[in-house]
């Protein structure tokens, strides 16, 4: 399985993602934002970081960079595109997934482990994951998911919510919402579910001695689903 990680000026989780993808069997290529052509890929990842210094709005500049037109075309033809953290912010700015990510409700940069509940398994990202709840890591200042009421209705009708913030047992309540996101939304799909944007970082949970193993579960499962 071939993957591509796009590096924007200011990306800082691109190499972590590279390590994670390779660890679980992807043949990964790093792709520079100013390139026009996407290498042949089964998965494209927009990594976390602070592309363009978060100027204007997080992800807004990166969403207009040269490589993104190829990524958008790839996504529109059914290609798997996953945006993590800043990558999620870039995805909403391209319009590939609905909504926006606002400043966290309490204006704090949040850096901690969280639990997320998988809302939908009828997709290549979460199909066959045995767990209902995964422990991932978040580190962001703008992760407060917002969309209009009409968009929310559409997202819910199409089952586009991927994961919600919850507690260890999977309870989705206000008190387990770290950033003020509508309905505790931590990640969403496009309608066709080939594009996933999420704030948590699975690539930070792939080593028992450093973190947890739930990221390993996620990546192992993902590569199997793509085969």
């Amino acid at each position: 399985m071939k993957s591509s990680v796009i590096t924007f000026p200011g990306s800082n989780c691109d190499r972590d993602m590279d390590v994670a993808l390779k660890k679980f069997g992807f043949k990964n290529k790093m792709v520079w934002h100013a390139d026009a052509e996407l290498p042949k890929s089964d998965l494209v990842v927009l990594p976390g970081g602070f592309s363009y210094g978060d100027y204007l709005r997080c992800g807004s500049m990166a969403s207009k960079s040269k490589i993104m037109q190829s990524v958008i075309n790839f996504a529109n033809s059914g290609g798997m595109v996953m945006g993590i953290c800043n990558g999620f912010q870039i995805l909403v700015e391209t319009g590939l997934v609905p909504g926006v990510l606002l400043r966290n409700k309490y204006l704090e940069f949040i850096c901690k482990n969280v639990f997320v509940k998988i809302n939908d398994k009828k997709n290549k990202y979460f199909k066959n994951v045995d767990n209902e709840v995964l422990e991932f890591h978040i580190a962001h200042n703008e992760g407060n998911y917002f969309c209009t009421n009409d968009q929310l209705k559409e997202i819910e009708d199409n089952n586009q919510i991927a994961i919600n913030y919850c507690d260890e047992s999977g309870k989705i309540e206000d008190q387990f919402n770290p950033n003020g996101s509508i309905k505790n939304i931590a990640g969403i799909f496009n309608k066709e579910k080939n594009v996933l944007g999420m704030m948590p970082h699975p690539e930070r949970m792939i080593d028992t001695s450093l973190s947890g193993e739930d990221g390993s579960l996620f990546f192992k499962n993902l590569i199997n689903n793509l085969k």
Binding site: L56, R57, S60, K64, E93, G99, V100, L102, R103, N104, K105, Y106, L107, N144, F146, C147, T148, Q151, G180
Partner: protein, 80 residues
């Protein structure tokens, strides 16, 4: 020609920064403030000399980059 653009958050969008500014103003003794909403202001110096054409270009910029229309409104100030 210089054209100014003001970007504001739509009415229903939470503005935590505006809220904190409001609270701080309150603490400083400015007790008569109902609400504070924070926005963005741009000055664009354009090579275009025709008023309408320049405005139309800036409108396109607003829609494509300067504003995110899910959460923000834009207002173009008439060029001088």
């Amino acid at each position: 020609m210089k054209i100014s653009v003001i970007i504001t958050l739509k009415k229903d969008v939470l503005d935590p920064q505006g809220k904190v500014i409001h609270q701080t103003l309150d603490g400083m003794g400015f007790n008569d403030v109902n609400e504070v909403r924070q926005g963005k202001y741009f000055e664009i110096d354009s090579k275009e000399t025709d008023n309408d054409k320049a405005k139309a270009k800036v409108e396109e910029m607003c829609k494509k980059l300067l504003a995110n229309l899910v959460i923000e409104n834009y207002k173009i100030i008439d060029p001088k």
